[in-house]
């Protein structure tokens, strides 16, 4: 089967849905969403806790409620949805190859494509925890699915390694289901989770968080029987004298998320080693004309509201591309300055920006009172004060178009040989807040 669309969105989670809706609002007619699961919503379907939508809807929703609002909107439109459909690759002609039980092997042509495949969790193997290989070791997301979707308890006595948000949420969830969560261990000297989750998921339930700790061995031949935990030194090496055996039947891992870009790679989309997602411009265009990316496939977000915001940009970008109003010129490039691990978008075409450009960035360590600054050459073009910046919390930073234009040596659009102007984004720390984790 070969079919032709104006826009195909790969992934029907929050990013894909918001991108499709935005494209629709900007006049794209013939849109298809491909979703591998049997319903729309993506990972939100298993995130039954609240806290979603504070920015986007100005109220607190659960994950399924948040996604339901988008599903309802989509159902009012003519956007076509194919569920139970797995995309296998995007070929050199930008055709999408996918299979499903109902349609068999499909080759789909589309004027534009939006990548919204989300991310996956790092595993035990990836962080190389040694010992035996029994059952009872789950990534936090798998445990979350087992409990919240399938209705099964993975275990009774739990140790959690890694203090990412899903791990923290699962510490609370499993406690509420009657399990004993013995501890959460974190290799670094600070948590990867948001402060809100540390308070509401651990402290409220008296679950201890051990910083600078890791697991050095897993015990148990059939099922997990225990783990050996250890304190680590400043080089993150386990300290032998601190080894301690903790009996448990389950180990949950919340040790990081990895954007899932296998399909992007098949389309030769260029990836950024900092984000592990594509290099993108202001409308989330990748290096391959007509292919856009948004959501966790692009970079891991901690708040779904920003996913929706970013996806709307990609939808708008795709709409412009389909109308033939897309200019691939790169006028600016964002650069990591001091204290910054990454800035998104990595490039900009100033001619596409109407009023402001919204930058997403992460810092490399906790800062107390500080200022985020954007510089072109010796000119400070934008700044924002923060009371606190944490690596676990993505920062939203707006720059006005006129501030960028005023400091740039801009030539007419389409000037191919033009070197992009660099915008350096950095953190200027005022002082270190001693109360920080």
């Amino acid at each position: 089967m070969t079919k032709q669309y104006d826009l195909v969105v790969i992934g029907g989670g929050p990013a894909g849905m918001a991108a499709a809706l935005s494209a629709k609002q900007h006049g794209v007619e013939n849109i298809l969403i491909l979703e591998r699961d049997k319903e729309l919503g993506g990972i939100l379907n298993q995130c039954i806790h609240n806290g979603f939508g504070v920015h986007h809807f100005k109220e607190e929703l659960t994950g399924p409620e948040y996604s339901a609002r988008f599903i309802t909107e989509i159902q009012k439109t003519s956007i076509e949805i194919m569920l139970d459909t797995m995309v296998l690759k995007i070929d050199n002609h930008r055709q999408i190859h996918a299979i499903s039980p109902n349609h068999g092997y499909m080759v789909l042509k589309s004027k534009a494509i939006i990548l919204a495949m989300g991310c996956r969790e790092r595993t035990r193997g990836a962080i190389r925890i040694y010992g035996s290989r029994p059952s009872g070791i789950y990534t936090a997301g798998t445990a979350q699915r087992l409990i919240n979707i399938n209705g099964y308890m993975p275990g009774k006595e739990i140790v959690i390694l890694g203090s990412g948000d899903i791990g923290l949420v699962m510490a609370r969830r499993m406690t509420l289901e009657g399990a004993q969560v013995k501890m959460v261990l974190e290799l670094q000297s600070r948590s990867n989770g948001t402060l809100r989750n540390i308070v509401q998921c651990l402290e409220d339930y008296h679950i201890p968080l051990y910083l600078n700790h890791t697991i050095v061995q897993i015990h148990g031949k059939n099922r997990v029987e225990g783990v050996t935990i250890a304190k680590v030194d400043e080089n993150l090496a386990p300290i032998k004298a601190s080894y301690q055996y903790i009996p448990c039947d389950t180990l949950l891992l919340s040790v990081g998320l990895i954007p899932e870009n296998e399909i992007s790679k098949s389309a030769r989309v260029k990836l950024d080693s900092r984000t592990r997602g594509p290099f993108v411009g202001e409308l989330r265009q990748t290096n391959i004309p007509g292919i856009f990316a948004c959501g966790n496939v692009l970079h891991v977000h901690d708040v779904v509201d920003f996913v929706s915001e970013e996806a709307a940009l990609a939808g708008y970008g795709a709409a412009r591309y389909i109308r033939g109003q897309f200019d691939t010129t790169i006028t600016h490039q964002t650069i990591n300055g001091e204290g910054v691990t990454y800035v998104l978008p990595q490039t900009m075409n100033i001619y596409h920006i109407e009023d402001t450009c919204n930058l997403y960035l992460r810092v490399n360590k906790p800062y107390g009172r500080c200022q985020i600054e954007a510089w072109i050459g010796n000119t400070l073009i934008a700044s924002k004060r923060e009371i606190r910046c944490l690596p676990s919390e993505m920062i939203n930073f707006k720059i006005r178009k006129e501030a960028i234009v005023g400091s740039s040596d801009l030539r007419p659009a389409q000037a191919i040989d033009q070197q992009p102007t660099q915008i350096i984004v950095k953190i200027v720390g005022m002082d270190r807040d001693p109360s920080l984790p």
């Binding site: 969790e121 595993t123 087992l146 099922r223």
Partner: protein, 481 residues
């Protein structure tokens, strides 16, 4: 009463069972675990060796070179996955060159095929990512890669399809010699058999002792491996061995049959036969040693580490013999590396032994079916084939394991074949569901559901691999009542 009872459904036991299934015999294959290929056969390098390495005159040398030549035909019949990719033993200096020349000479005597001593440029052309320091290498065209557990499963499945009675979860706890037969005690009903073949791998000494044979011991030698994502697979095209030195055999780097980069194994004698732990020290040594051959692999792309225990005997060679003390009791023991390569040749030899022993007469079966029905692996099919298949069987269009592109159809096929299976690992080894970069993170809940739907086993009773390796404790809200 069986004619022959084989103890152990690893690659050796399964190969023997399949070879004997060509004859009119009543055969029984016993396995203590929940699936075949649950021990050493599932965790090794997955290599069909060229046969130049084992010292001329040993059983290892004899059966390795012979076994190598049987694999093309076996692959045609059993479809387990085999490719002759060639191997290099790489050398960095004159000392290595001497060793490589000696290996070459030894290989010629062993009747190993496709051997050639080559220079560093030859290696570089075929293996551009290897070290620049390589001066010389022994190239062996006939070496290949296989999926060792799929091979073992294929052998056992074809044996069962040809009438062999496979009894899983059946541990042998005692053997009594009667006048003209053996009584094999298990936790179920005792089994009677005229001939017993001991292919119990790591436990073959324990089984031999049950009839009073005490002239060998099995010393488990653990090998630890690191398996990488397929993104690293392009770094090697063939099998890369290091030149053995007095310090050790070195570690190999290989692109596995399915396309992952794998490095290892280490080599440590251990006490406990079933201790397949991995350790930080050893894995770090493996990584360090492998860098000598292949300097630039990316540790961020590691999928898993694992280990397997080789069944090394105190006789330092394969033990392949009918006991002189106990006629009818055949030991196939101490089958360490290159045991996987040798397995089909050993199996043929066992048939000759049985024929020569006059214990039972061998009549070729007229209806032996050497063919095993291949799997429809979606990841290996072209669009036209897939469309035809999905039209007939829509479940092949539903991808359950996204990392390895495994469909519901393949999983259901695995669950309905002649070897009854019900564990996650058994499904994984047959279909690759859960083998990929997310290590079952996304597909585990879905596979549980398929096992429940197909076999009717409640999810809380489904296990990963062994008794007690349950996945969930019960329904939410009810788990603690």
């Amino acid at each position: 009463m069986f004619d022959i009872c084989i103890i152990g459904a690893g690659v050796i036991g399964s190969a023997i069972a399949r070879e004997l299934a060509k004859y009119d015999l009543s055969l029984c294959l016993l396995e203590k675990d929940q699936d075949v290929s649950s021990g050493t056969s599932k965790a090794n390098s997955g290599i069909v060796h060229g046969g130049y390495d084992a010292k001329y005159g040993t059983l290892k040398a004899k059966f390795c070179a012979r076994g190598n030549q049987l694999y093309d035909q076996l692959e045609k019949e059993l479809h387990f996955g085999f490719r002759r990719v060639g191997s290099f033993v790489i050398g960095f200096d004159d000392q290595d060159r001497k060793t490589i020349e000696a290996l070459y000479e030894n290989g010629l005597k062993n009747n190993a095929r496709g051997l050639k001593i080559v220079d560093g440029d030859f290696v570089k052309k075929r293996e551009p990512y290897l070290s620049d320091q390589i001066q010389v290498a022994l190239y062996c065209e006939s070496a290949g890669v296989i999926s060792p557990y799929e091979f073992t499963i294929a052998l056992a499945e074809n044996a069962v399809d040809n009438g062999v009675e496979l009894r899983l979860n059946t541990e042998v706890v005692g053997i009594h010699k009667q006048a003209d037969h053996f009584v094999i005690k298990t936790h179920q009903k005792p089994i009677q058999s005229k001939v017993v073949i001991n292919a119990a791998g790591l436990y073959s000494d324990k089984i031999a002792k049950m009839v009073g044979i005490e002239d060998f011991e099995i010393q488990p030698k653990r090998g630890e491996y690191v398996l990488f994502d397929k993104t690293q697979g392009h770094l090697v095209n063939s099998i890369i061995f290091q030149t053995p030195t007095e310090a050790g055999k070195g570690v190999l780097a290989v692109r596995t049959y399915h396309g992952n980069l794998m490095i290892g194994p280490s080599s440590t004698y251990i006490e406990e036969k079933n201790n397949v732990n991995t350790t930080a020290e050893t894995i770090n040594e493996v990584i360090h040693a492998a860098r000598k051959s292949l300097p630039n692999f990316d540790l961020k792309e590691v999928i898993t580490t694992f280990s397997g225990n080789r069944a090394c005997s105190t006789k330092h060679d394969f033990i392949i013999e009918e006991s002189k003390k106990i006629p009818g009791f055949i030991n196939i023991a101490g089958i360490e590396s290159p045991g996987l390569t040798a397995a089909p040749a050993i199996a043929q030899y066992v048939v000759e032994m049985v024929a020569a022993s006059h214990l039972i007469s061998l009549q070729q079966k007229s209806h032996f079916n050497p063919e095993r029905r291949p799997y429809h692996h979606v990841s290996e099919m072209n669009p036209k084939e897939l469309n035809e298949l999905i039209q007939k069987h829509p479940e092949y269009g539903r991808i359950i394991c996204r990392c390895e592109t495994v469909s519901e159809g393949e999983i259901k096929d695995a669950l309905s074949r002649s070897i009854p299976i019900n564990t996650l690992d058994a499904v994984k080894r047959r279909t690759r569901a859960g083998m990929g970069r997310c290590q079952g993170g996304f597909c585990t809940p879905k596979i549980l559901e398929i096992i429940y739907n197909e076999l009717g086993i409640p999810v809380e009773k489904i296990e990963k691999k062994t008794a007690g390796s349950y996945i969930v404790v019960g329904r939410t809200k009810k788990a603690f009542h």
